[in-house]
């Protein structure tokens, strides 16, 4: 009984600790890249080479902060919010083959399940913003719900295009298919779906052209305004875990996952995801923020028709190829 519990819990523990470690250093990486782009130095004096202890110091400090709950808020929902977001964003990693040879949960529809789990995040964000009893949090949450629900559509459809070309919804199949050529090199459809995916990934991860929910100049710090201490740390980590999950998804579906030019290993998934994350950072620190109506109009008028056109093209191509091979 105890052994079976260990067998069950050990991979989860391992994955979560590796993940938290990666994500803590993603924050450090972001601060360093931001500093480089603004010709600064970034974290330097906390820990000898280049402030490498900075994430540890931040985490320990946030643990020692007071925990404040607003007076007239719904304290059950207020406490549930950060936990919900953290659990959901960690749970989606059960499906991704990013550290072990096999994902912890090996199902045929792993891609669909990943999308389904990670879209639950908006519920956690909504309850935390609503229960904060703060007008900035509420406005931020309303914006964010509109944004995430609309950008989920092009995200899923742009990822369905490679899935249709490959003919499978499981990550194992998708990686195996790309042993010869990656999907990003697939003529026209590969690049089209990647661009749509990239734009909607920025919106999903709340990064800068679309970071309306945390617009500092208008909304203090969005739905996290009333959170202090360890709950804020959970939000902060969960945001990066979610974003890293999207990066891993992109590296699996478009960049061949564990297939490399010289060797094949699961570490390549992480390396590609980190490169993809750095690309998002470059966008984050050089662009401006757009307005909510422009954001939604861009999505419904341009991105969704484009993604449906791509989907139709992929279906026709697949049908023609299947038909001709008979």
């Amino acid at each position: 009984m105890f052994n079976s519990f260990i067998e069950f819990a050990l991979p989860i523990f391992k994955t979560i600790s590796i993940l938290i470690l990666i994500v803590a250093y993603l924050v450090w990486l972001e601060r360093k890249v931001a500093a480089k782009m603004q010709s600064r130095v970034g974290p330097y004096s906390v820990g000898y080479p280049h402030g490498w202890l900075q994430p540890l110091a931040d985490a320990l400090k946030l643990m020692t902060k007071d925990d404040s709950i607003p007076k007239n808020s719904d304290s059950l929902l207020f406490n549930l919010g950060p936990v919900w977001i953290m659990v959901v964003s960690l749970a989606s990693f059960a499906l991704l083959p990013f550290y072990f040879n096999n994902p912890m949960l090996n199902v045929d529809l792993s891609f669909m399940l990943f999308i389904a789990i990670s879209s639950l995040i908006i519920i956690g964000i909504f309850i935390s913003g609503w229960s904060s009893n703060n007008k900035y949090a509420l406005i931020s949450v309303l914006r964010m719900t509109a944004q995430i629900i609309s950008y989920e559509i092009p995200l899923v459809i742009s990822l369905l295009i490679p899935c249709i070309l490959i003919g499978s919804l499981s990550f194992g199949e998708i990686i195996r298919y790309q042993e010869d050529t990656w999907i990003i090199f697939y003529p026209l459809l590969g690049q089209l779906s990647f661009i749509i995916f990239f734009i909607s990934a920025l919106a999903e991860g709340n990064r800068i052209p679309f970071d309306l929910s945390e617009a500092e100049s208008e909304l203090i710090s969005g739905y996290t305004t009333e959170y202090s201490g360890i709950k804020f740390a959970l939000f902060y980590l969960a945001e990066y875990v979610h974003l890293f999950g999207i990066c891993v998804l992109g590296s699996i579906i478009f960049f061949g996952g564990s297939n490399g030019p010289f060797f094949s290993s699961n570490i390549l998934i992480v390396i590609k995801a980190l490169l993809f994350f750095t690309l998002i950072l470059f966008i984050r620190w050089s662009f401006f923020r757009i307005r909510i109506d422009q954001l939604l109009k861009f999505n419904w008028v341009k991105l969704i028709p484009l993604s449906f056109a791509g989907l139709l093209l992929a279906c026709l191509l697949k049908y023609y190829m299947d038909f001709s091979s008979l």
């Binding site: 600064r40 970034g42 110091a57 400090k61 007071d66 203090i220 996290t224 305004t225």
Partner: protein
Amino acid sequence: MGDVNKSLKDIGTFMKLPGANLFITSTDQLFNWAKKSSLWPLSFGLACCAIEMMATFSSRYDLDRLGMITRASPRQADLMIVAGTVTVKMAERIKTLYDQMAGPKWVIAAGSCAISGDHYRHIYSVVPGVDWVIPVDVYVPGCPPTPEAFIDGILELQNIIGEGKTSPTFNSSPVPEEKTLSPLEVTKPPKKSKNVIESEFIDKTNLINHSMDLKSQGFTYLKFITATDFDTNIVLTYFLGNNVSNKEVEFNIKLDDDMKVSSLSNIYSGADWQEREIFDLFGIIFEGHPNLKRIMMPDEWIGHPLRKEYVMDSHYYPYRPTRKEYEKWKTEL
């Protein structure tokens, strides 16, 4: 805070265990290191010192080297840098922000205005030192302090935190005996000053008709309204502009004893705020104004600061909240 006595008792029983002291000291050191290594300041500035503070945060000096990033929400901030002159109206906001910050929290008073009020110390609307209102840990002198001074102050604060000391200091100098004068007691002998205004004077009963005439002639833009106190009388000056022919016109009204004049806000909606300002600072009542309230001074303010009889240079001053009143405010915490 919880029940302090009970938690102290818990610590007492815990301390009897072998090795407890060693454990507590080493974890304390670890947490103190963490607190001093990631001081997140509130992004908040008051006056010119804040410009220097921004310079300290940006490229050349870069406080991110020390692990400092600004947070906009007071719940997530550890450090408040009070950079600039603290006015009476702002003192309440500073107090609110300080109360909203989650502890442990620290305060740096940056610049001579935040430390002592500096040369604005005696002015009617300035609090002489932010330590009248909130406890301060580190004082950074300068007018404004250079970025180097800011960094020095932050390093000093880091030393304080690293040694586990807490030094929150309210202003602890003895509260001086304050003469409490009623506003009526304060009188100044009137000085004779010459009325130097040369442009057209109109009668104040004629104001509405006159400005209606001018508006129909194309003077649709009210550039400003201002008031001047000549001791014996107050002169209101109106300045109108014609945007088509690019002409300007100026006319004055003399107010002797009766400080009442009809409002122009129905004709020029731009007059609304300017008349409120003149009411606030000179006490002239504009009849027919939709919302004649104070615009700059707090609502409960006594007197009108730009009037000649208003005493500006007294330290014991009947209008400004006194040190004693702030002391009361502190104990209410």
